[in-house]
Symmetry: D2
Subunit: 231 residues, 4 copies
Amino acid sequence: MTENNEFPIVNLINAPENPLKLIYLSCRTCYSADYPYKIWEKDADEEKMLKLVKKVLQSGHHSTIEHCQYTFTISGVTRACTHQLVRHRHMSFSQKSQRYVVEEGQFEYITPPTLKNGELHAEYDSLMRKIAELYEKMIEKGIPAEDARFILPNAATSSLVTSLNLREMIHLANLRLCVSAQHEIRKLVKKMCKLVVEKEPWLGEYLVAKCEKNGYCDEIRSCGRFPQQVR
Amino acid sequence: MTENNEFPIVNLINAPENPLKLIYLSCRTCYSADYPYKIWEKDADEEKMLKLVKKVLQSGHHSTIEHCQYTFTISGVTRACTHQLVRHRHMSFSQKSQRYVVEEGQFEYITPPTLKNGELHAEYDSLMRKIAELYEKMIEKGIPAEDARFILPNAATSSLVTSLNLREMIHLANLRLCVSAQHEIRKLVKKMCKLVVEKEPWLGEYLVAKCEKNGYCDEIRSCGRFPQQVR
Amino acid sequence: MTENNEFPIVNLINAPENPLKLIYLSCRTCYSADYPYKIWEKDADEEKMLKLVKKVLQSGHHSTIEHCQYTFTISGVTRACTHQLVRHRHMSFSQKSQRYVVEEGQFEYITPPTLKNGELHAEYDSLMRKIAELYEKMIEKGIPAEDARFILPNAATSSLVTSLNLREMIHLANLRLCVSAQHEIRKLVKKMCKLVVEKEPWLGEYLVAKCEKNGYCDEIRSCGRFPQQVR
Amino acid sequence: MTENNEFPIVNLINAPENPLKLIYLSCRTCYSADYPYKIWEKDADEEKMLKLVKKVLQSGHHSTIEHCQYTFTISGVTRACTHQLVRHRHMSFSQKSQRYVVEEGQFEYITPPTLKNGELHAEYDSLMRKIAELYEKMIEKGIPAEDARFILPNAATSSLVTSLNLREMIHLANLRLCVSAQHEIRKLVKKMCKLVVEKEPWLGEYLVAKCEKNGYCDEIRSCGRFPQQVR
């Protein structure tokens, strides 16, 4: 199979049932004499919960949102992209192994937008075919998959299951929604955030690039959307 | 309020809906060419899932179980106990603050079993009353709660919300169900495990003291239940 | 032994020999075709190193400073303080155990500044003596240390060895040098930072409260030193 | 430049001066009434230190060894290998960026042992040349390096600086010295361990594959060196 315009494919498969109430409980537990299970059992007004939670988040006490964990399935992302993604050490990953899974026929790959429809696009596709042919030959001759994959390109796609808590999700959005992030991971994180915000619209204001959060840009090369920090 | 025989009070307030399927998905994603969302959508036979998951866990690939997160509310544990608990750095905590929450009247405290009904029990309770009296006086005289609490004993109870994934839960059980762990944390972790096993009986064999897992004891002072490791 | 004006006692016992060069190496490795061991072997101009490192830190790429680790010995801090300190999950701790170490005579304790020389100071000291007396009695009667310590107050001191990398050190300073942090942990972190800055004066500008770093205050109750963030 | 028999190139560039004393201090701090800085200042007999440290490590109290951190420079490892390595979330990494560093001429790559001198070796090398040619053409036509690298293979080498503490080092050895680990990462970790053991021969018995530590094999496919665990 080759590329698909819907790539990356992202699905949210596990989320807390009531994240706002969970965060509200965590905030209240810190500042209240009540037993937390009693706070949990009581009905709470959504507006009141939102008010407290926003105040606590504003003051930077982000440990209270670690109790909300989200699990996604992801496909159609390059190994170049996943090598970046797995650098987020607060996330959990289960990724398709190129050591154990043998590619059949033309492996799936991504074409970067700067190449699409350009003069090099055909050469790019042709190289991908050559790689797939040699890969197949290697497997036939008994080279183990973990060695045959040495010729697979960064463009080859991968699949994974990943879990992260809301604190890390906000951090991920802050870093990876910046226009200086690689286009593919930006697209991926955008989709992840969209899925969360569809369920919890109030989280939209937190799942943004760092410049929107800070009001300034700290990148060496700025896109100009926000003023660069002088300090 | 004083001590309660039901202490610690532990409630499981958030858990993955289908942890076995989540772990099965993670294992399969590593070793399969299929898109994970397609594996997720397909019905899977419980026995088949259990077989794969047990095989993967046996071989030590525990990152696959990080996708299952559990959230508990806990009350009626001493600050001595929580000081140990928060040393588990893979867990998330929101704990009642002694800096902000002022104790009213006699603070809640735990009496260790070795004291109960013994000759020192009355002196213990009397000391707790004296501490509460001076604490109240300090608050009345305008000493901030964060300083008045300097006299509160380790026995004073705390409340918290905590979240941890299944990998850390197994680690917690391995360490803290050992008879050489402090009695209170052992009781606490036992209750946490019981709540998880009630939902997922197949996890029972993993949520055990390290000796049961290893088949030997590595403690310096052994309880004798398992042979001590010679190596 | 009772309190000592020099408390907490803080010593820096292990530090990287050349942290600037280590960070420079890390930054250059990311952006250079040269082998890192060759960059390391080459002499580098201090001013040039400092220029690159500051630019990289300004843009928020803080993983480059994780290679610098510092180890401190700490004594004369209360268990109230260490319960906060060990919440920093990127730090490593080896702390004196109240379960195993039996206190002899009057245990060491801290008197908070708001009590010193006030009308309650004598009552505070007298309570500490009463606690020590009952503790001693409990030990004599065969109560295990781990249970006798239930009466020890938050004010009782502890000792520990802790290690943390420079990234966490900056985070620790950002949070704990804020005037809304507890006075004791503020004093402790100030001393830790001072010891690092004595060795590396260029780090002084990073080891500051978050308001100095951000140019605004995000605390709910501000000390007024910096304007509160409006967003 | 093409492959080099000495690959990977590994250098240990930062290590604690006296790791045994540091660990001894950490163990003693937990079980002693003495101030840690006084324990640190006192001369200690090496044999006595070793005896205590080995006893503590045997009983699984591994937090005491987190105070020892090691920093390595690494070159001549494939991106396939580094994608595995960066999954160790307790390690710190600064890695050469394929987004920013443009490859000049024939990029450096590794040939897996199963291909060397075999009939496919020439085809392998020829493919690497073709990839380098198209990469060069893409760069010339103005394709950004971050997109041109989509065609670079897993075999392309990378460079990095990495730091890890002794606890993670032992974990890394336990997992990656197993013969079922990928050959390249096994070679890499072997070299890292060798450099540490050259400085600290007493650590040799800990920096081993998990089977040597456990006395049994828990892998699904065993090499047969140790009996497979029945439980």
